[in-house]
Amino acid sequence: AQSVSQHNHHVILSEAASLELGCNYSYGGTVNLFWYVQYPGQHLQLLLKYFSGDPLVKGIKGFEAEFIKSKFSFNLRKPSVQWSDTAEYFCAVNAVDTGFQKLVFGTGTRLLVSP
């Protein structure tokens, strides 16, 4: 069975600081990987996704993530955070070779950016 670990449960940063949120998954087969974000009072929105190809994917609002297959990781990065990035971030994995679309989520990381 697949599982996802997000090791940082709470992160506090000042504006303009760099961000890296860790995500590790456990599944030996082919995966699709996602980062979703939930801003306060809003619904889950897709930040970025990796299906295949270039392991460095760019998403909305200046976020990017790198898929490192050997480390089973898909860490999220942003070079300079803004106050508006305050949100909860979820990493999710889909096992491609099951033929199904089930997403397995991590427990999320709450990011607080202070102005």
């Binding site: 989520f105 427990t107 999320g108």
Partner: protein, 113 residues
């Protein structure tokens, strides 16, 4: 272009009651998945519907059931509610039966007293 919509937004029920939650997928999408998000946790997969059939099911008891209509809208039914069923219930839609990006609705927050 309407996104995923869910109703109601909030619901309060008592133990033992039954509840029905509704979801309309994003325009052009034909696959609906349901997730339960308990407080402080990530969403957990309940089941997925495609072509009006349940395609895949997560680790949830039979008290959780669903339905998909010909217009692709979907319902989630929970019978014999328990206190532990209190959560945010999320609907996600996508296109086709294979791996595609899922787009989430705002959710229905259920409180069981």
């Amino acid at each position: 272009d309407a996104g995923v919509t869910q109703s109601p937004t909030h619901l309060i029920k008592t133990r033992g009651q039954q509840v029905t939650l509704r979801c309309s997928p994003k325009s052009g999408h034909d696959t609906v998945s349901w997730y339960q998000q308990a407080l402080g946790q990530g969403p957990q997969f309940i089941f997925q519907y495609y072509e009006e059939e349940e395609r895949q099911r997560g680790n949830f008891p039979d008290r959780f059931s669903g339905h998909q209509y010909p217009n692709y809208s979907s319902e989630l039914n929970v019978n014999a509610l328990l206190l532990g069923d209190s959560a945010l219930y999320l609907c996600a839609s996508s296109f086709g039966r294979y791996q595609e990006t899922q787009y989430f609705g705002p959710g229905t927050r259920l409180l069981v007293l």
